[in-house]
């Protein structure tokens, strides 16, 4: 990795200085107004369909979006209670924001049915992600019904403005706003809604997610210094417990937790054994890097162990000097200054990239799978015969074709996979559904398990066929599945399944060389001789060679029925 330039370090430290005003309990325009980014921003276009003003929220989003690395250009539709969607543009994101008070003549269930029908219609007009805000007027029945219906629609996301309304109480509304803004939202409501959009909802839609939070210990997760105060004297306050709860929530959402601390390992082991409050951390940490190496060195080990980039890690530390030094050594690392447990908790609720719309059943598998992977790697390294060891794992690959219930996980794979990703296409869920529903398109997903762990669905092959020739748009294999020599069996069997379980004549792969997808490109090179400038590469399918490669893989191949 290139060393950080002064401007990169400046940007990281400037960003860190923005934390206090952006994550504050009480947002203040006077503190947000002067914030000007010194880093590059990704421009995104957002089309807003509405029956109420949204411009105030859009303008207020600017500093929050900038912190997330985004700058938005908004297209505002006319005020339209009927949601006719007469002019849907090619904007990257669609937002639907309604004042539900304008539909008082409709019962909640009729209103939700109508709204879902309109959103489904919008879905048919665009494959862009759609964000729908719920009723800030706290109609819980309407909101919970809306949320459960929205969850059935691909790439449609439920934005919980009602939660903001609940937390602000009567201060969410300001009758004075009606006179100057034709809106009843108070300034606090506007700022808090802008924050959710700018730091949580929009980043979750367009940016790569953060995959790990690496936390320091001393004066971060407890008060005091373990090596000086001892196990019994460090202070774990209610605020620290609330912070630990948030870390547990992040883990449950599928984010890896790592501990990175300069301490004696024995002291930390004694700490975890005797302070029960910290058991939740020990049991959930995928990596515990406690030693006297630099934080940067340890964070690189965390990245390597978890098979993720350092740009997908948020490092949390109370020591500003450590943050600066580490940022200089790892310029793409995200940093959160843990100035107090309350501030840190707010940071972990708002840091862009941590928020997830909904969870998946795969989330719970991740940490256990990583621990199993560590065990496997040690065993492979020490095995006298690697093939024999791999055969002893009892690997199983389960193949499903066009699994309509699995499109959310497919999208997770296209969005998150960096190393074994051939085209870097980042197909979204709506596009995946559209692909599956087309006459020639198919999606093959593969789940992996062995005697050490169940890795869940770890691969996606998205492609089309005319019965003879196959075109592959996406190949994604989770990094957790790598290292067991299954790629050939997985991909070649999957491609054949995509072609109605028959050998194709040719396979055309769409490819893009990226900064981290060398494993995918290396695999492709073993099967393809020509990489064309138009971003395609063609393989002539030789049955004998393919069969030999598949049978060399130490895995049982199981085709599941998804009909």
């Amino acid at each position: 990795m290139k060393p950080a330039t002064d401007s990169a370090i400046d940007a990281a430290l400037t960003r860190a200085s923005w934390q206090a005003p952006l994550f504050a309990h009480q947002l203040r325009r006077s503190e947000l107004l002067p914030l000007t980014p010194t880093w590059q921003l990704h421009h995104t276009q957002i089309q807003v369909h509405r029956n109420q003003p949204f411009e105030f929220v859009a303008t207020a989003m600017e500093p929050f979006l900038a912190f997330s690395g985004l700058k938005a250009e908004f297209e505002f539709g006319e005020y339209d209670d009927s949601l006719a969607f007469g002019n849907v543009s090619r904007a990257e994101i669609q937002v639907v924001s309604l004042d539900f008070n304008r539909y008082v003549s409709m019962s909640s269930s009729v209103l939700v049915d109508w709204l879902i029908q309109r959103i489904a219609h919008l879905r048919s007009l665009t494959t862009a992600p759609i964000l729908v805000t719920n009723d800030a007027g706290l109609n819980d029945h309407l909101n919970s019904t809306l949320e459960s219906h929205i969850a059935q629609l691909p790439s449609v996301f439920h934005c919980d403005v009602a939660a903001i309304s609940k937390s602000l109480g009567p201060e969410f509304w300001d009758e004075r706003s009606t006179y100057i803004a034709a809106s009843k939202l108070s300034d606090r409501a506007v700022l808090h809604t802008a924050r959710e959009f700018g730091l949580n909802w929009l980043p979750a839609t367009v940016l790569p997610p953060l995959k790990a939070v690496a936390v320091d210990l001393d004066n971060t997760l407890y008060g005091g210094v373990l090596g000086e105060d001892g196990v019994d004297e460090i202070a774990i306050t209610d605020e620290h417990l609330a912070l630990l709860d948030q870390i547990v929530r992040l883990h449950e959402a599928g984010i890896f937790i790592a501990v990175v601390s300069k301490n004696e390992r024995d002291d930390v082991d004694r700490l975890f054994a005797s302070r029960r409050e910290l058991t939740v951390l020990r049991d959930r940490a995928a990596v515990i890097a406690v030693n006297w190496r630099t934080k940067a060195e340890n964070l690189k080990v965390v990245a390597e162990t978890l098979h993720i980039g350092t740009d997908a890690i948020l490092f949390v530390d109370d020591n500003a000097g450590e943050l600066a030094t580490t940022s200089a050594a790892i310029p793409d690392l995200k940093i959160l200054h843990a100035s107090s447990p309350v501030e840190t908790l707010r940071g972990l609720k708002h840091y862009p990239g941590l928020f997830r719309f909904g969870g998946s059943s795969e989330d719970a598998l991740r940490t256990a799978d990583i621990r199993a992977a560590q065990e496997r790697e040690i065993a492979i390294a020490s095995a006298a015969d690697t093939s024999e060891y791999l055969a002893s794992l009892n690997l199983e690959l389960h193949f499903r074709i066009d699994d309509r219930g699995g499109t959310a996980r497919m999208h997770e794979l296209t969005k998150k996979t960096n190393q074994f990703n051939v085209s870097l296409r980042r197909t979204n869920e709506a596009e995946i559904v559209s692909f599956i529903e087309s006459p020639t398109g198919h999606a093959v997903t593969v789940a992996l398990s062995d005697r050490l762990s169940n890795s869940g669905t770890i691969a996606l092959i998205l492609g089309s066929t005319d019965g003879t020739n196959v075109v592959i748009e996406e190949i994604d294999i989770s990094c957790r599945a790598l290292g067991r020599q299954i790629e050939d069996a997985l991909l070649l069997t999957g491609i054949r399944l995509l072609n109605a379980d028959k050998d194709p004549m040719t396979v055309t792969f769409r490819w893009t060389k990226g900064p981290r997808n060398k494993p995918a490109m290396d695999w492709l090179r073993t099967w393809v001789t020509e990489f064309r400038e138009d971003g395609t590469a063609v393989m002539t399918w030789d049955r004998e060679t393919v069969e030999k490669a598949i049978s060399a893989t130490p895995a049982e191949l199981i085709k599941e029925d998804t009909q």
Binding site: R28, R29, S30, L33, P34, E55, F56, T59, A60, E175, R176, S177, Y179, I180, A181, D187, V190
Partner: protein, 82 residues
């Protein structure tokens, strides 16, 4: 220049993204960038910065720099006397 006017100038300049000279009078009718969107941002920024609350009548009449300064000075004086 008094402190209130200086602070209002600074906030107005930051919100409207125009230079606001110490001695100038800015009116909403003659300042194209001072539209309804900017007006909302401006009044809420002023409320936050000065820790005051404008009444709805006052909000409707804050259409010149001088009126804004006068209104804020009145509110602050009222606060000090309370």
């Amino acid at each position: 220049m008094n402190h209130v006017r200086e602070k209002v100038n600074s906030i107005m300049s930051a919100v409207l993204k125009i230079p606001v000279e110490n001695s100038s009078e800015i009116t909403r009718s003659e300042t194209p960038v001072w539209d309804s969107l900017k007006h909302v941002e401006l009044v809420f920024s002023l409320e936050d910065a000065f820790e005051i609350t404008f009444s709805k009548d006052q909000l409707a009449n804050l259409d010149t720099l001088d009126k804004i300064v006068d209104t804020i000075e009145g509110l602050k004086q009222h606060q000090d006397e309370a």
